[in-house]
């Protein structure tokens, strides 16, 4: 028997209900989650090995991003070139994948980022994660490089490397359709790259379905560098939970709790666009790259203007909120378009940051980036920066190879998106991301770039909000609003409530610095665990103060897997995940000086918006003080290096520990 067949026979149970543990009714013992495998796939040697995931690793890291980050630290050697065959891609479903609540089907994809050189990590919703778990795998570790374009075909207990020559060059929609046709199964779910990933655009993303994306940090570029066009999966095995009946009741309670709130109702109707109403009205939105903090002519971008395009709302696996529009564009030179989205992020990328005023522009651009497989945020952020350089004469029409990059020029934007995806002309320059382009252009272009560690920031203007500003500076994957964004800071919640949640005083004023380092630290731990269990942040304290967090997570973990965690233990898991990410970055040469904000945050005050947000900069001294407090909360020294006692407490002093690998 080949090694692979040996693995399969251990894994796929023989038919027959009597002996078959797959369908025993009643309570399964806590070992059932241990049945899920981790597969090591070497694209160079074509060797595939499937292993159980050690119980200890689950208890320390749970799953999803947790285990992915552990694997990243252990399997990717320091200082490798992210585009070389030595980089490794990790795909991981959350610990709670399959649970009918909280949008539990989220999947984490990690590698060393070709955009930043630090932790590369992106989370994707939709339906790929559950299908992977149904096929019996929770984690994939993909190393090496395929000689020719290939895709992985995963089905119950088995993985094959298949030829993808006929898929190469196809967009992300066509790729998925063709894989379904090839396998004559409409239920196949795929992770696919578009031409952007094939062309090694450093911020190429990985796509699934019509719109779900692992957007940030260039994970699609890493797949492209391995000649890996797609990962396809079809699973039909059972997912067992420890206490199925109690779990069902609890899920109902969770879903009802969430759907009875105003914010969930609003999101289920208007999608994430509803956030724009509040933030733009107040004056917390980057406009013209960073010149203004409110889009004064952005009325058409407000959520009710989607009504004339939307045909319904879609949801991810296990999610009652269904916050994603399905829309149709019937008229105009780019019609017809059927697509999903756009998200709040795209409203910024192709609306406010580039000074476009029409919803339609966002709808067309959103579709293009999804088709080509480009991160919507990075693309918009780079184009906005290029437009400001063009305005200021730092680059001209010769540099842009003929493109008139004037504010709001939608056709120039669409053309530039196409050029970036295909690495043509000016797009070829932008395709390498901020670090490389800044070095090539020079001429002080650095000053205008709104990026941290080489990755673009969201279209939020954090000058009035110190907690948000600290969050993007310290995020382990570069400027990012999903590592810690304490959105509830904007709600002016009573200070007694904030103290109860965060464990110490936090000011209820969003323009204050008091207690905000604690807020950011706490949220980092929560979101690390959120991504490790694989539920959607929109159904946590990301959105609302009484939304699911530690207690609800504990209960779900107990009902689904039988594993018991106290709140303190779960927070410790969050610390462990975040600290091992920090260790990876430190090992790559990052340090305190990289936990910084663009100079404009300190130098240019906000000019418009509501009175309370006008005239704001980030105070440099107070920022540094917040950073000191933040490091102390994490148990790191003043340079952001984990202290010895922290490493020992979290069990990280033994890293890399290689608790799970092909060899054991």
């Amino acid at each position: 028997m080949s090694l692979l067949q040996d693995q399969i026979s251990h894994f796929v149970a023989p038919p027959g209900p009597a002996q078959n543990p797959w369908f025993s009714k009643g309570v399964a013992d806590e070992t059932m989650v241990w049945k899920r495998r981790i597969a090591f796939i070497d694209l160079t040697t074509k060797k595939i090995v499937a292993k159980p995931i050690p119980r200890q690793v689950r208890q320390l890291y749970l799953g999803g991003r947790g285990i992915d980050m552990y694997l990243l630290y252990n399997h990717v050697k320091p200082k490798v070139d992210p585009l070389s065959s030595e980089n490794v891609i990790f795909v991981g479903t959350g610990l709670l994948c399959g649970v009918p609540a909280l949008g539990s089907g989220r999947c984490d994809i990690a590698a060393k980022s070709p955009l930043t050189g630090c932790v590369g990590d992106s989370n994707i919703g939709g339906f790929f994660g559950p299908e992977l778990r149904l096929a019996g795998f929770d984690h994939l570790v993909i190393s090496g490089r395929a000689e020719k374009p290939a895709y992985l075909w995963t089905s119950d207990g088995s993985i094959e490397i298949r030829d993808a020559g006929h898929l190469w060059g196809k967009d992300t929609f066509e790729t998925q359709e063709m894989i379904r046709d090839d396998n004559k199964d409409e239920e196949v779910k795929c992770l696919a790259i578009g031409v952007a990933g094939e062309n090694l655009v450093r911020f190429a993303n990985i796509r699934s379905g019509m719109k779900n994306s692992a957007g940030r940090t260039g994970m699609g570029c890493v797949m492209g560098s391995k000649n890996l066009k797609a990962i396809a999966v079809r699973g039909t095995t059972d997912i067992e939970f420890s206490h199925p009946d109690d779990l069902l009741d609890y899920c109902k309670k969770m879903n009802d709790m969430i759907m009875n709130t105003r914010w969930a109702r609003a999101q289920s109707k208007w999608g994430t666009l509803i956030i724009y109403s509040n933030t733009n009205t107040t004056g917390l939105i980057r406009t013209r790259n960073f010149q203004l903090n409110r889009h004064e002519e952005g009325e058409d971008l407000e959520p009710e203007n989607m009504d004339r395009y939307t045909i319904g709302m879609s949801g991810c696996y296990g999610c009652a909120v269904h916050c994603r529009h399905r829309y149709v564009l019937r008229e105009g030179p780019h019609a017809p378009i059927f697509a999903e989205g756009p998200e709040y992020t795209s409203l910024g990328a192709f609306g406010t940051m580039v000074d476009c005023k029409k919803m339609e522009t966002v709808l067309i651009a959103n579709h293009l980036v999804n088709k080509y497989g480009l991160d919507t945020l990075e693309t918009g952020g780079l184009i906005a920066w290029a437009m400001e350089l063009y305005e200021k004469g730092i680059i001209n029409e010769k540099d842009t190879t003929g493109l008139k990059l004037e504010w709001g020029e939608e056709e120039a934007i669409f053309e530039l998106i196409r050029q970036i995806a295909h690495r043509e002309r000016f797009g070829n320059l932008l395709a390498d991301g901020f670090k490389t382009v800044i070095a090539k252009i020079g001429k002080g272009s650095d000053y205008y770039a709104i990026q941290v560690k080489g990755m673009s920031n969201l279209h939020s203007d954090e000058r009035p909000t110190p907690s948000f500003a600290l969050g993007i500076a310290t995020s382990t994957r570069g400027a990012d609003h999903l590592r810690s964004r304490p959105a509830i800071d904007l709600y002016g919640l009573p200070e007694e409530l904030l103290e109860e949640i965060y464990g110490a005083p936090v000011s209820s004023d969003y323009t204050s610095y008091e207690g905000k380092s604690r807020m950011v630290w706490w949220q980092e731990l929560l979101y690390a665990v959120t991504d490790a269990i694989g539920v959607c942040k929109f159904q946590t304290v990301f959105c609302a103060v009484h939304a699911p967090n530690w207690e609800e997570f504990r209960r779900l973990i107990q009902l689904a897997t039988g594993m018991e965690f106290s709140k303190a233990q779960l927070m410790e898991v969050g610390e462990r995940i975040y600290t091992i990410e920090r260790m990876f970055n430190l090992r790559e040469g990052f340090s305190r000086k990289d936990d910084a904000l663009p100079e404009r945050y300190f130098k240019e005050p906000t000019t418009i918006g509501f009175p309370v947000v006008r005239g704001k900069t980030i105070d440099r001294d107070r920022f540094e003080k917040m950073l000191d407090e933040y490091y102390a909360l994490h148990g790191w020294d003043e340079n952001g290096f984990p202290k010895k006692e922290t490493l020992e407490r979290l069990g990280l002093d033994k890293e890399p520990s290689h608790m799970v690998g092909e060899e054991e």
Binding site: D238, F241, D245, L248, K252, S314, G315, V321, H322
Partner: protein, 162 residues
């Protein structure tokens, strides 16, 4: 009059919570493939249609079953499989025009929607109300009102009423 599991595909968000809760309730595991309801999707057209046993008035499954193992439940009106009689011949699977009966590849048995004894779980969990459990009168009224609302919007525009 007994209630009917009524499907409104326009409202379906494609979240598949119905499939997970169905399999979790009946089989104590989560496996959409072994649920008695399935959301059929045309992803690139944005069309999602939950498909489940229609509990026909003149069920073909009952007619075709050689063991008379499929019978009407007096309380809920659903067609139930008597597993003491079922031999797994799968004629019911072949003849149902809706694909309403599942063949479970692992057990070799067939399974179908039994309306959860009168309180269908999929309906309870369906927030967009693409699945509803209503009597016939209510269904008629709702469909007519929904259609009339579309007319009413149009009329308001024509008559320029706010």
């Amino acid at each position: 009059m007994q209630k009917i599991l009524f499907i409104d595909p326009e409202k379906c968000s494609g979240c598949r919570i119905c499939e997970s809760v169905c399999s979790l309730h009946h089989e104590k595991i989560c496996n959409p493939g072994r649920a008695r309801i399935h959301v059929v999707k045309w992803e690139t057209a944005g069309l999602y249609v939950p498909m489940v046993c229609q509990q026909c008035e003149t069920p073909l499954c009952e007619t075709v079953c050689p063991m008379h193992a499929i019978k009407r439940d007096a309380k809920t009106g659903s067609m139930l499989i008597d597993y003491d009689l079922c031999v797994g011949c799968k004629l019911c699977v072949m003849f149902c025009p809706f694909g309403g009966i599942n063949l479970d590849a692992r057990t070799g048995k067939v399974a179908k929607c039994d309306l959860c004894g009168g309180e269908p779980l999929c309906v309870k969990f369906c927030d967009p109300q693409a699945l509803q459990f209503l009597n016939a009168t209510a269904i008629n009224l709702r469909k007519r009102r929904a259609a009339a609302e579309k007319f009413s919007d149009l009329m308001k525009k024509l008559l320029a009423i706010d």
